[in-house]
Subunit: 309 residues, 2 copies
């Protein structure tokens, strides 16, 4: 299994504080946390704040489960870029004897790899992924483009870490644009300005930077350089634990990747591009805690009023 990323002293201190204040509950798996009610309430308020921020967009809302069809992830060539991050769901389809063996091995925490087989499902790695085939299935989208809001889906990245800002399972709010190339780029850049302003108004110190996805291996280094050269990904980062800021939102331009793969069409014809905003709701909540303190009741009045209106 992937190597554990150990915490810095600041990250450990921040994580311990979150647990002591009842905001996070540790599990036996690094990067997998239960949420105390106050933290989950804050996370939902962040979600409400984003819903209000997105109100003028007129986006169609839809939502999807935390598992998605494995075949879809294969079709979008995710395995070529991020094999290390995928969670693939395996199932059991044996008879009486195999079940009896599995029961004995499992309760003893033994290895029962061979008793299980590939299912049709994977854990969803990005909230927007099920959107593209769902929209493609309905026929051409209206020009110059449409917006879709798939809400605050649960996503998974298989990267065990002790840094509380790097969870394996978290809510990634997204907003998706599907349309003509110019429309998508302008849309992404407009939202970058809007969200930077919104986050600053909540007292966050931000860094806005060109970024790249964590592509796998040697080939991934080349893909990362290309992504930066073409300015396909921007990130807004904020401090959480320690001086290194953490990305709280990404602004992504996919060019024709999803359009070609899923056969998206535009009324009147022309190339169909797509872009998305990916907003890590737990990270936004953690950045707010880092800025204003672990006692949520003691936050500045204007910040509380903005989130608990």
């Amino acid at each position: 299994m992937p190597e554990l990323r150990t915490a810095t002293a600041e990250q450990r201190e921040f994580a311990d504080g979150m647990v002591e204040h009842g905001l996070l509950l540790r599990s036996e798996v690094p990067g997998l946390y239960g949420r105390g009610h106050r933290f989950e309430d804050l996370r939902r308020r962040v979600d409400d704040m984003l819903t209000a921020t997105f109100a003028g967009e007129g986006a169609e809302r839809m939502s999807f489960p935390p598992l998605m069809p494995r075949r879809q992830l294969e079709t979008m060539e995710y395995h070529a870029s991020f094999p290390h991050l995928i969670g693939t769901v395996f199932g059991f389809d044996g008879g009486e004897r195999e079940a009896a063996d599995l029961a004995v091995t499992a309760v003893a925490h033994g290895d029962y790899t061979d008793a299980l087989g590939l299912s049709e499902l994977v854990v969803t790695p990005a909230t927007c992924y099920p959107v593209y085939p769902a929209i493609a299935a309905r026929g051409p989208v209206s020009a110059p483009g449409i917006s879709v809001d798939p809400g605050d889906g649960w996503v998974f990245r298989h990267e065990p870490s002790e840094d509380p800002a790097r969870m394996q399972c978290f809510h990634m709010r997204e907003l998706v644009r599907i349309g003509a190339p110019d429309d998508v780029v302008a849309w992404r850049d407009r939202w970058r300005e809007t969200l930077v302003e919104r986050y600053r108004s909540l007292g966050l110190e931000l860094v806005v930077e060109l970024a790249n996805d964590p592509f796998f291996g040697r080939g991934g280094k080349i893909m990362a350089r290309q992504q930066r050269a073409q300015e396909l990904k921007w990130e807004v980062m904020a401090p959480i634990a320690g001086p290194e800021p953490t990305a709280i939102t990404s602004f992504n331009y996919h060019e024709d990747h999803f359009g070609k793969i899923f056969g998206l069409e535009l009324e009147g014809g022309g190339e169909v591009h797509s872009g998305c905003l990916g907003l890590g709701e737990e990270r936004i909540a953690l950045a707010l805690v880092a800025a204003h303190g672990m006692d949520l009741d003691a936050w500045p009045g204007e910040i509380r009023a903005a989130l608990w209106p």
Copy 2:
């Protein structure tokens, strides 16, 4: 993989209607649905209604991700009872060459079972499972017992079906009681009465019955008979598609199962038992649609007022 349960004519008609009305979005995997905004809004209103119904309970609220530690599920002996329902998460930990092979096989939808290995995670099969170890870790619970509300978690059951009431991935709201044996039984039976009344006020026709869990295999038949003989599980059922009603809520008494396995303790000593309510939010929403129609705006005024107050 498990055999597909095919739909009856009524189930197919109901599912088609849900899709035509934009309430559900079909995926390529049976039992895995996207949700149109109106259906997800209804599901959230059901959740809000349950939160209001639970308000007097004084339950501690906490929430957990859709994945849980595999070791916990093994420890609670789930594999002995429900091996066929489990989703076990596998990961990739290979190098450059293995990744290149995986990419080629995956995009061609081939079999790459051998490239993956057991991770530390499973898909959560019941919202309450992570509660017991979290409470046990804090020391003895106060007598005669405590209530915990783990909210509307996503759960998974690996049972592909064309019946829209049998989803593989859905929200199971739960309410948990941990305490002395008498306390837990009285608590469960009191909630059965309260929820039956609440559902009837929403216009649902109910059947209340002794029930059993879907234990695996021949041994499972004996376990199911014992569970019924001891009256450990009750279900409230409502019609969704066709004459056979579907369970929308279960009332479960675990006796000392979780208490012993996780070492739960009661202040002042004594056996620690547990029980839970399991409320299938999509099924409650579907039963409301079956009762009042697929045009949610045309529902009776008093039902709309109760859910959209």
